[in-house]
Symmetry: C5
Subunit: 292 residues, 5 copies
Amino acid sequence: MIVNRRIGVYILLRESLRSLLALFAWDLLVVILFQLFHQEWMEQPALPISLIGSALVLFMNVRNNAAYSRWWEGRSLWGMVTNNCRSFGRQAGTLLNNRPDLACAMAAYAHSLRGSLGDIDVSADVRRLLPEKIEKRIRGISNQPNAILYEIGVEVNAEVARQNIDGAVHGQIDRILSDMANAQGGLERIRKTPLAIQFSGLPRFLTICFCLVLPLSMVQSLGWITPLGSSLVGFLFVALDKIGHDLEEPFRNNTAHTLPMKAMAITIEIDLLQPLGLPAPPPLQPEGGVLI
Amino acid sequence: MIVNRRIGVYILLRESLRSLLALFAWDLLVVILFQLFHQEWMEQPALPISLIGSALVLFMNVRNNAAYSRWWEGRSLWGMVTNNCRSFGRQAGTLLNNRPDLACAMAAYAHSLRGSLGDIDVSADVRRLLPEKIEKRIRGISNQPNAILYEIGVEVNAEVARQNIDGAVHGQIDRILSDMANAQGGLERIRKTPLAIQFSGLPRFLTICFCLVLPLSMVQSLGWITPLGSSLVGFLFVALDKIGHDLEEPFRNNTAHTLPMKAMAITIEIDLLQPLGLPAPPPLQPEGGVLI
Amino acid sequence: MIVNRRIGVYILLRESLRSLLALFAWDLLVVILFQLFHQEWMEQPALPISLIGSALVLFMNVRNNAAYSRWWEGRSLWGMVTNNCRSFGRQAGTLLNNRPDLACAMAAYAHSLRGSLGDIDVSADVRRLLPEKIEKRIRGISNQPNAILYEIGVEVNAEVARQNIDGAVHGQIDRILSDMANAQGGLERIRKTPLAIQFSGLPRFLTICFCLVLPLSMVQSLGWITPLGSSLVGFLFVALDKIGHDLEEPFRNNTAHTLPMKAMAITIEIDLLQPLGLPAPPPLQPEGGVLI
Amino acid sequence: MIVNRRIGVYILLRESLRSLLALFAWDLLVVILFQLFHQEWMEQPALPISLIGSALVLFMNVRNNAAYSRWWEGRSLWGMVTNNCRSFGRQAGTLLNNRPDLACAMAAYAHSLRGSLGDIDVSADVRRLLPEKIEKRIRGISNQPNAILYEIGVEVNAEVARQNIDGAVHGQIDRILSDMANAQGGLERIRKTPLAIQFSGLPRFLTICFCLVLPLSMVQSLGWITPLGSSLVGFLFVALDKIGHDLEEPFRNNTAHTLPMKAMAITIEIDLLQPLGLPAPPPLQPEGGVLI
Amino acid sequence: MIVNRRIGVYILLRESLRSLLALFAWDLLVVILFQLFHQEWMEQPALPISLIGSALVLFMNVRNNAAYSRWWEGRSLWGMVTNNCRSFGRQAGTLLNNRPDLACAMAAYAHSLRGSLGDIDVSADVRRLLPEKIEKRIRGISNQPNAILYEIGVEVNAEVARQNIDGAVHGQIDRILSDMANAQGGLERIRKTPLAIQFSGLPRFLTICFCLVLPLSMVQSLGWITPLGSSLVGFLFVALDKIGHDLEEPFRNNTAHTLPMKAMAITIEIDLLQPLGLPAPPPLQPEGGVLI
C-alpha cells in the first residue's frame, strides 16, 4: 500500500506510462494519415463521442465504487482480525489466567492468514510463533488458518475444563473465536470471488474501443494538435480504468496497491506479545513510500 | 461464476452477439432506406438523443448498482453460512466433546441449501452426509434445509441434557444456529424476491426504444457509416442492460454468472470434515473458466 | 409484488397509460397551435432543456435510490421476522421442551404484524392461531403485535420458572424476542415515516413543469413530429418519477408493488408448524403475476 | 415532519417563495438593463453554464444524499430507542417480575432524550413519569437522559440482588441498556456534529454564484422571456440546495422538517404503559399536515 | 471541526484563496498573450472541455463520497467509544459495586486514544486520571490505549474474583471491553490506512491539468472576460478537490476540519465522572467557530 502521497502519484504515472505511449502513438498515426495522406474517411466529427464518453465514465464510476468497496472491506476485515486478536489476548491473559502460548498461537494465526490470502510463504513466521503441539496437529489440512483457529478452540476448551471456568466466560471467549471465523470468512470471500466479470473485464474493453475512436472524432477540428487533446481525454479514461483494476484485488501480492498484510500481521504480533512481557519485533517500515 | 478474466470477456461478447447482430441489422435497414430509397422522413437529427441517452445511462447505473448489491449480498450470505458452519464444527468438536455426525449433518445442510436455492437435485450429496435418523425425520417437510437445522438443534439439545453442559455454552451453540437461520433467511429473501420490476423490466424496454430511435438521429450526418456509429453506442447500452440482467438473480442455475454454490458447499464440507480427521472430497475446479 | 417479468412490464405500461395520454395531448396541442395558428411565441429553442433534464434525472436517481432502499429494507426486515420466527420455533421445540402453543402464537404474531402494517383485517388468521388465553389478555391494546410479543415473553418466563430452565438459555430466547422487537420496530418506522416530502413530492412537481416546457423547446425543429419526440422523452421522466412513487411505500395495500406480506406470513406459519407435525396451509400462489 | 403529501408540496413552495422572488427580481433587472439600456457587456452566451450547472447538480446530489442519510439515520436511531424501550418494558414485566416504576422511568427517559436533542423544555413530561427518588438523584447532572439510564441500571442491579435473579438474565437486561446507550450516543453524534461545512455551506454559496451568472448567459437568445427561463432553472437549483438544508439537521426544532420526536416519545410511553395496565395518553395527531 | 456555518464558509474561502489567485494569474496570462501578443495557437475551442469536465466532476464525487465516509465513520467510531465508555461507567458503578478508579481509568483511555490518533501530547490528561498502579504497568508499551484497556480488563478480572461475581455478568463487562477494542481498531484503521492514492493523489493532478487547459478553450469566445469565466469554473473544481482533501484524514491535527477529539474526550470524562459524584471539567467551547 502506498503511504506517501507524493511518491504515490509518481508510481501511478509510471504505471500508466505504457498505456499513455500506446495511446499517443495511435493518435499520432491518425493525425498523420489524415493530414499527410488525406485519408479523409477517417474524420467522423458527428460521432456521438460525448454521449459515449459520459456513459463510459458513469459506468466506470459504478465499477470503481464497487472495487474500492472491496478494497476497503478487505481492510476493515483485517481490522476486525486485529481487534479480535487483541480481545483474545486480553482474554487469554485475564479470563484464562495467563496462557502466553495461546497468544503466540493467535499471532501465528495472523501470519498464516496473510500467507493463505496472498499466496506467500509464511512458514518461518508461523513456525517461530506456533506451539509445536498445535503445529503437529494441523499438518496436511488444506485451510491452515482455520485449522489453527480450531486447535486454539480445542486448547481453550481443555483449559476451561482444567480450571473449571464458568460457562458464560467460556461463551465470551468462544464468541471472539466465532467473530474471528467471520472475519476470516469475509477475507476469503473477497479473495476467492473476483469482482463480477462485467465490472472487471468490460470497462477495459470499452475503454480501448473508446480510445481507438476518439481521435477520429477530433482530427478534423483539432488538426495537428489532435494527439495532445485526444491523449488528455484518453489518459483520463485509462486512469479511471486503472483505478478499478488496482483496487479490485486487495490481496494480489505483486503490486504497490496490495493491502499491507505483513505490516498488519506484525502489528497484531506486537499487540499480543507486549502486554504479556514477551519480546516483539519492531513495526514494519514503508520502503520507497510503499508498505507491504 | 467466471473466474478467468480473459475467458470471461470472451463469454460476455458471445452472449451479447445476438443483440449486437439484431442492432446492426436494424441500423443497416435504416441507412439503406434512407440512402437508397430516400425515405427522408427517417432523419430526425433534432431528437434530443443525448439527453435520452444520459438519462438512460444514469438510470441503468442505479439499477446495475442494485443488481450488483443483490449478487454481492448473496455471496456475503453464503460466506456467513460458511463461517457459521466452521464455528459450529469447532463447537461440535470442542464444546460438545466430539460429535462428528453433527458436523456431517451441517455439511448436508449446506448441500441441501444450495439445492433449494438453485432448484438443483442434491439428494445424492445430502444422503451421503446426513445421518439416517435425521433424514427420516425431515421427510415430507417443504423447507428441507430449515428442517435439517431444526433437527440439529434437537440433537444439540439432547446432547446438552445428556452431558449436562452449562447453559451459557448451550446458548453460544444456539446463537450460531440462529445466525445460520439468519443467513439462510437472507438467501431465501434474495431468491424469492425478484429485483423490483421497475428495475428489472423497464431498462430493457427503454433500451430497445432507444436503440430503435438511435440510427434515425444519426443517419443524416453519418451517412453510410451510420451502422458502425450507431452499433457502437447501441452496444454500450445493451452491455449495460445485460449487466443488471446477469447479476440480478445470483442463484439462477443455467448461466455462467450464477454464484458457485456447489464449490462453496464442497469447501464447507472440507472445512467441517478435515479437522475431525474424516475423509473429504477435493475442492471443485473451474471448467472453461467457469466455477459452478 | 410482481413476480412475473413479462406480465410486470405490461402492468407498468398500463399504469403509465394515463400520464402518457395526457402528455401526448399537451404535445399535440402545442404543435397544432404552433403549426396551424402560428403562435410563434411558443417556440423557445434556446431554453436550457438539456441542463434541466440532466439535473432532474440526477435528482430523481437519488430519490429512486432512497425509495428502493426503503422497499428493500422493508423486505429485509420481514426477512428478519421470518428468521427470528424460525429460531423461536426451534427454541420452543428444543430449549422449552415442546410448546406448540407458543409456536402458534408466533405465527399469529406474523399475521397480526402484516395486519397492522397494511391496515388489513387479519382477525380470522389471528383467531385461528392465537391461544385463547393470550387473545383475551391483549384486547383493547392499541399495538396488537407488540402485545402478542409481550405475552409470549410472559409465557416463556412462566415456562422457564416452571421447568427451572438455566438463565443463559432463557437469555438466548429473550434475545430472539428482542431481535423480533427490533425487526417490528424497523417495519413500523418505514410505515409511519413517509419518505421525506422533498423526495416524494418535489420530483412529481418538477416532472410536470418539465413536461409542460418540453414541447416548446422542440416544436421549431421537430415540427409535426414533436409529439413523438417529446412524448418519448416525457415518458422516460414519467417512468422515473413513477418508480420512486411505486417503491416508496412498501406496505401500501392496493397496488401491485406492495410487498407480499400475506405470502410471507403464511410461509412463516408453515415453517413454524410443519416441524412440530401440526397441519399447515399451502403456500400462497401468485395470481396474474402478482403475489399479495 | 410533514405527513401529508399535498400539504407538504404547498409548504415547500411557500418556503421557497422568498428565494424565488429574489431570483426573479435579479433576472428582471438583467433583462431590463440589457433590453432597454443596452448594457451589452451583460450578454455572455459563451459561458460554460451547462458544465457549471452539471457539476453543481452532481455535487449537490452527493451532499443531499449525505443529508438524507443523516435524517434517516436519526430516524432509525429513534426507532432503536423505541425498540429497546419495548424490550426493556417486556423485561421489566417478566424477568424482573413486574416493576412498573422502571417502565415509567424509561418513558421519562424517552421524553428527556427528546428534550436534550431538540433543546425543548420537557420537565412537565419527565416529572409526570419519573419516580421521585430517581428524579432527586439526577439533579445537577448535565447529561440528563444518560443520568436516568444510569439510575435505571442502579435500580435493576438492586432488584437483581434482592430477588437473586440469575446473572445471565441480568446480562440480557444490561445488554438492552447498553444498546440504548448506543442509540442515544448515535443521536447525540448527529446532534452535535453538523454536516461537514464543505457540504453544508459551500452549496449555497455556489448556488448563489450560479444564479447570478445564469441570466447573463441566456439574455441574448431568450430576450424578454429570460426571467421565465432563468427562474425555472434557478428554482431547480434553489430547490436542490433547500433539500440538503432542510434534512441535514433532523432535530432542529423550528421547522416542518424536524423529526416528530414528541409523537415518538408518546408512542414509546403508550407501548410501555399499556401492557402493564397503566393509563396512557392518546397518540399525537398531525396538525396542518405536520407531526411534531 | 467547524461548528459555525457563517464562519465556516469564510474559513473555506480563505483556505482556497491561494489556489484561486494562482488560477486567476494563469487565466490572465493566457488572455494577455492571446489578445495583446496574438499567440493564436493558444485558442483551442474544439477541445472537448465539457466531456473532460463532466468526467472529472463525476470522479471527484466518487472520491469525495469516499472521503466523507471516512470522516463520518471516524466520527461514528468515536461515538461508539463514547457509548461504550458510558456503558462501562454504568457497569463499574452497578455490576462491579462502585469502582470509581476504573471509571477514571476509562476516561484516561479516551484521552490516550485521542493522543495516539492525533499525535498529540496528552500525558497531562492521562496522568491526571489514570490510577498510578496501571500507569506503572503500561510504561514502554507502544500501543498505549490498548495497554490501558488490557489493564482495565485485568482489574475487572481481579474484582470479579474478589467479589465472586457471576460469570454471565463478567461476560457482559468483557463484551463492552471487546466492543471498545473494535471501536479503537476501527479508528486506527482509518488513521493508518490513507485513502487509496488513486483517490487522494490523482484528482489533484487531474484538476491542475484541467485548470491549465481551461482558459485555452474559452479565450477565443470570451475574450477579455476569460479570466472571470475560467476562474469561476476553475474555482468549482478546486473546491471539489479541496473537499476530499479536507475530509480524507479526520484525525490530522492541524486543520479546522479535524474531528474535535479533545472536546469528545472531555465529554466522555464528564459522563463518566458526574454520575459517581466526582468533579468533572466543563465541556470544551468552540473558539472562532472551530471546536478542537
